[in-house]
């Protein structure tokens, strides 16, 4: 330092900041050209599941709290709820790539990470098969395993094809979640709606969007022949038998004819690699029904 000019800390701070920002930008430019990342953070349960399905889990250094499948994923460092991502928390894990569901947020935190030179790639996260394939393709591409991605997609398609071998009569169906006494039904644009569709059933709630509260009266009026309940709802109601006897569902054709089917929460609410499994469970449950 020039001994004649005293150090002005504020100017120094600003100058450093500017240099750092420029350096950060150039780092991110470099990162875009690099090939396979070494430390990956995933935001979104489905994204994490795909990484495992592609066999690339060793790259994972962190995930969000909804990344619950497979069980080993829960051992990863968690940055919390994927729509309230803490910037510093992500940086702490020193990732060179963040694969984020398009639903991840908040937007300004994601922007902040990008501005700091971190590579953040968003993937489609809609309840449709096209979105699922797109997600698999992009994740596989980002991780440098395109072929495995293609194989995975094809396998999923094949599995779904196979499920159609389980014959199921086209009938009225309803997917419900029963949380602390309140009954919610799955309308259109949910993963559950897609699963019911693939299972060859008619979702009686297509007129509504998303999960909506429904009353016992509405359920009876809709006369579903098949009711799918999530595992957590079954647990809170005290077993599948109890579900069938629940006052809201008791008088439906589904309950009377024994077509109440349990489906794991993660399978029911997310569209991931195990989609075919969900469809299979429903088809098998319908055919196994005993009045």
């Amino acid at each position: 330092m020039n001994p004649i000019n005293p150090i002005n800390p504020i100017r120094l701070l600003l100058a450093r900041g500017l240099l750092a920002a420029l350096a950060g930008l150039s780092l991110s430019a470099q990162a875009n050209e690099s090939a396979v990342p070494a430390r990956v953070v995933t935001l979104g349960g489905s994204v994490t599941e795909i990484v495992y399905a592609l066999g690339m889990q060793d790259l994972l250094v962190g995930a969000d709290q909804s990344s619950l499948y497979p069980a080993e994923a829960q051992a990863l460092a968690s940055i919390g709820y994927y729509r309230m991502v803490p910037s510093e928390g992500v940086l702490r894990l020193k990732p060179d790539l963040v694969i984020a569901s398009e639903q991840a947020g908040p937007p300004h935190a994601i922007e902040q990470l990008v501005a700091l030179g971190l590579r953040v790639e968003k993937v489609s996260d809609q309840p449709s098969i096209a979105s699922l394939h797109g997600r698999i393709r992009k994740v596989a591409c980002l991780l440098g395993v395109q072929e495995r991605g293609v194989a995975l997609s094809m396998a999923i398609d094949a599995e779904i094809e196979r499920t159609s071998l389980i014959p199921v009569e086209r009938q009225r169906a309803l997917m419900v979640v029963m949380r602390s006494g309140k009954l919610l039904g799955a309308g259109r644009e949910t993963a559950a709606a897609k699963i019911l569709e693939l299972a060859g059933l008619d979702n009686v709630l297509l007129s509504q969007k998303g999960y909506q509260p429904i009353t016992a009266e509405v359920v009876s009026a809709l006369r579903p022949a098949v009711i799918v309940v999530t595992s957590s709802s079954v647990r809170s109601l005290g077993g599948l038998e109890a579900v069938g006897h629940n006052p809201a569902l008791r008088m439906t054709p589904a309950a009377l004819e024994g077509r109440v089917i349990e489906l794991d929460d993660l399978l029911a609410q997310g569209m991931g690699p195990r989609l075919a499994l969900a469809v299979q469970q429903i088809r098998e449950g319908v055919t196994r029904a005993r009045p």
Partner: protein, 347 residues
Amino acid sequence: MPDRDFSRNLAGSHHPAGHHMTRKAGLMILSCGLLFSGVLAISKGAFQIPVEHLLDWLTGNGGALDTVSTNVLISIRLPRVLLGLVTGASLGAAGAAMQALFRNPLAEPGLVGLSAGASLGAIAAIVLTPGGFYLIGSFAFAGSVITTHLAFVLGERSSGVSGLLLAGVAINAITFSLMGLIIISADDAQLRDLTFWNMGSLAGASWQVLAVLVPWVLLGVLVMMGRWRILNALLLGEREAHHLGYALQVIRWQIIALVALTVGPVVAVTGGIGFVGLVMPHLVRMWLGADHRWVLPASALAGALGLTFADVLARVVIAPAELPIGLVTSLVGGPFFVWMLLKGRAR
């Protein structure tokens, strides 16, 4: 007389003369504490920066600090600490002013519908608009101003602050029902977003936001501090304050407007952060007495200090995840408040 005991709580306990350290010393201690808290907040976080490197950087020899660390400090931590300081200061000062205006130790900015209005604005933005930081913030601010204004207009019809209190209760009730109506049409993700908004967060801090917020809040807090004589006079009761020359209608309007305009934008940026406005003025009064000349600045300093410290906890305790800061203030503030109440009864 019931009034006498009630306001005894407002005044804190009685201390023999010797226990009240000189007020200036108190402010000095708070300022030092604030400085310490600020440095602590800058040095701690989910992203680990070795303390020696940080100190070097602060004193001008930043060679050891790599670019990412510098970036974290400048674009994430520093704005966040500043936001915490400004938020805590506005909540603390506003809480003290509200408690003096209402002569009620439970008063805090939310009493006249401010927080409820902000929440209503936020949920409306989350559910009915594309959302995003600026939309939610603007709606929240608009909501807080509207409900506060409504509560004030309603409350002014009856004399005294009891009218204001009751109007605040009514407005809060109506606001929550409106929120309920909107919530019915919200999906899961939106509901979760609202829950987190209500628990507060300093993550929205950025230099652009601070450039507007800091001068505005500082101005509001300074003007509030300038009103110390009026708040002292109110300690004597509304009638006496009037005899001392203060037009009560005007004063009530001024103070509530000040609170709404100072706290409203803050809540818009941070979401709901409770307890700071309620607890800090109490602590300050217990320590320094009820003279608002000192209580107002001290509450601002204490609020800033407390919130900054709470944010450190929020960022560090479950790293890399983060606790919502409103949760930390409630978790710490709640039991502390209970302790204060028990202590009061024991005397």
